[in-house]
């Protein structure tokens, strides 16, 4: 469903993403991991057509991302890094926007929207403007927008961060359920415990390069220790003045 060959993105002299080659099959839940600034969001933007690559090839659902972007957008659902919400629309109006633009009829949009709002605990905030929503509500709205058109591939940028434990569990269950029906899920995350629970494929990148691409079944447990070994080990420096009397 997702196929990358030698995907590269440069910003001036800086190479943010360097020759990435990987594949994600239908029904997989692929976790794309790496430290801050490793190139995860840049890669995700290139996969969804938000950013043109400097080199390499990307195909999603068999379509070239650059030349057939409108067709591709009709077949994918995305939770972008900045959530992609308009301050001047309410939660329910955002779902209605997606239904209208993706050509769903009003009744289907309303029914699917109500189900998603109920499932994600957003019913009480359906008439709240995005500008007045908490970060968690905004993230859930964007997640619901990604699911509403029933896409073939889901791209999610840090979906579990800033989400309460109950909603996180609901989201995990939803993702496992859609993957079981053949939808490919590609997500970035720093929450390794959640990754361990749902991912079927793991890709780790560091400084724009893949350091590990494997099936989750082959992951040595715990993932955190392996992550520290492969990506970076934490160095804890003693900061003496912290906690001492204020000066």
């Amino acid at each position: 469903m997702i196929s990358c060959r030698k995907l590269t993105r440069r910003f001036g002299d800086f190479t943010a993403v360097d020759n990435l080659t990987f594949e994600v099959a239908a029904g997989s839940i692929c976790a794309f991991l790496g430290p801050n600034g490793a190139g995860k969001s840049t890669t995700l933007k290139m996969l969804t057509g938000l950013l043109p690559p400097s080199g390499g090839e990307v195909r999603v659902c068999g379509l070239d991302v650059r030349s057939r972007s409108i067709e591709l957008k009709r077949r994918i659902g995305v939770l972008p890094e900045d959530l992609g919400l308009f301050d001047d629309l309410t939660v329910a109006e955002h779902l209605s926007l997606i239904g209208d633009v993706y050509g769903l009829n009003k009744r289907v949009t309303r029914d699917r929207g109500n189900q998603l709002l109920r499932a994600l605990g957003l019913e009480h905030g359906r008439d709240t403007f995005a500008a007045a929503c908490s970060h968690g509500m905004r993230k859930k709205t964007s997640f619901a927008m990604a699911l509403l058109p029933n896409p073939e591939v889901l791209f999610l940028d840090e979906p579990f961060e800033a989400i309460d434990p109950v909603t996180s569990k609901i989201m995990r269950d939803l993702l496992q359920s859609v993957a079981a029906r053949g939808i490919a899920v590609f997500f970035t995350s720093h929450v390794l415990s959640t990754v361990e629970q749902i991912a079927t494929q793991l890709i780790l990148i560091r400084k724009g390069r893949i350091v590990w691409d494997t099936l989750a079944a082959e992951v040595p447990v715990p993932l955190e220790r392996h992550y520290f070994d492969l990506v970076e080990a934490p160095v804890v420096e003693e900061i003496e003045w912290l906690g001492s009397p204020r000066s």
Partner: protein, 346 residues
């Protein structure tokens, strides 16, 4: 005071680094034309409306600090008041405009008017400090529109309704209606001029169409399976839905022509040089000399279009529609390119 000085120093540094922001004085086309064309009457308008309301609300460097961060700083209420009043003055443009206003108004403005001006400054500062969120009040209940762009048109309308450009146009339109209801009929020339002024007050927004969408909104545009021309059409629909009712009691066809021209001429700036727009501010029409000249040219063509339709023949609306449609197609392709390239406004 040390804390306030530290914040002002940081603001000044931030302004110096962002060279563009030093010149970022939002100037609505209405004020530019008033100041340049209206001469003596323009002095009054320029001083009382253009300067007094415009600069406290539009050169505001305090916007460089996120409101949430400002609230977290250990500043007292008194500190915040001082900061609010002093921050516009770290922008050298504020000093330049104030000097220009005093020079232009010398001997023509009474003490009472200066007092009124001071009151308006205070009201302007208070309004900008309120941070009114979008979608409050009546705007929540806007009707739906037909077609798949329904929610986008609704959103665009709410955005336009939260700019000061609309207040300015509304004031002019309401004054014209009041005059027509209470006095004798307006002379035909006055109807044309008032129509043009109403559209002029709104025309700067045509060059800042994406300014209130924010980074999140722009990335959503890039993700939606719609073409660039459709996104522009949704913006235009909202613009025309405001212009047409406001010019209805004046010369609606002339107003429509001027609005179509304003949209066509504002496209390049709106799409290829988009800027962030703040709510309850005037649209950023005059950020540079180039913008001032562009605003004047836009205004001149709008006036010609409206005058042709009003004074010669309604058929002159046809070339205005053609220019608007051509710009929709051409810049629609630019929108596609801009959103796919990941370019974002400053």
């Amino acid at each position: 005071m040390a804390r306030v000085a530290a914040v002002l120093s940081a603001l000044s540094r931030a302004l110096r680094r962002g060279q563009k922001s030093v010149w970022s004085v939002a100037g609505n086309n209405f004020f530019i034309v008033s100041a340049v064309v209206m001469q003596d009457a323009g002095v009054f308008i320029y001083l009382l409306i253009g300067v007094v309301i415009l600069f406290p609300l539009s050169t505001d460097p305090l916007r460089k600090i996120p409101a949430s961060r400002l609230r977290l700083l250990p500043l007292t209420g008194r500190d915040l008041c001082i900061l609010r009043a002093a921050s516009p003055w770290v922008n050298p443009m504020t000093w330049a405009i104030a000097a220009l206003a005093i020079w232009a108004a010398r001997g023509k403005v009474t003490v009472g008017l200066w007092g009124l001006a001071a009151g308006m400054v205070a009201a302007g500062l208070a309004l900008s400090s309120l941070g009114i969120a979008p979608g409050y009040g009546l705007w929540r209940h806007l009707p739906g529109f037909p077609g798949p762009l329904n929610q986008l048109v609704r959103k665009n309308l709410r955005q336009m309704l939260s700019t000061l450009d609309l207040c300015c146009a509304l004031l002019l339109s309401a004054a014209a209606i009041a005059f027509r209801l209470t006095m004798r009929a307006l002379p035909p020339d006055a109807i044309l001029i008032l129509t043009v002024l109403v559209v002029l007050a709104l025309s700067s927004y045509a060059g800042a169409l994406f300014g209130l969408d924010g980074a999140g909104g722009r990335s959503r545009y890039a993700l939606l399976p719609v073409s660039g021309w459709q996104l522009l059409a949704a913006k235009d629909a909202a613009f025309l839905l405001i212009v047409v009712p406001l010019t209805l009691p004046l010369a609606p066809l002339a107003g429509l022509s001027a609005a179509l021209v304003a949209l066509a001429m504002g496209r390049n700036k709106a799409v290829n040089a988009p800027r962030e727009q703040l709510r309850w501010r005037f649209s950023t029409g005059a950020g540079s000399l180039e913008d001032v000249v562009g605003g004047l040219v836009q205004a001149a063509v709008m006036i010609m279009a409206a005058a042709s339709v009003y004074l010669s023949s309604p058929l002159f609306v046809a070339p205005c529609i053609a220019a608007w449609a051509g710009s929709l197609w051409w810049f629609g392709r630019s929108v596609d390119r801009v959103f796919r390239s990941g370019r974002m406004p400053d």
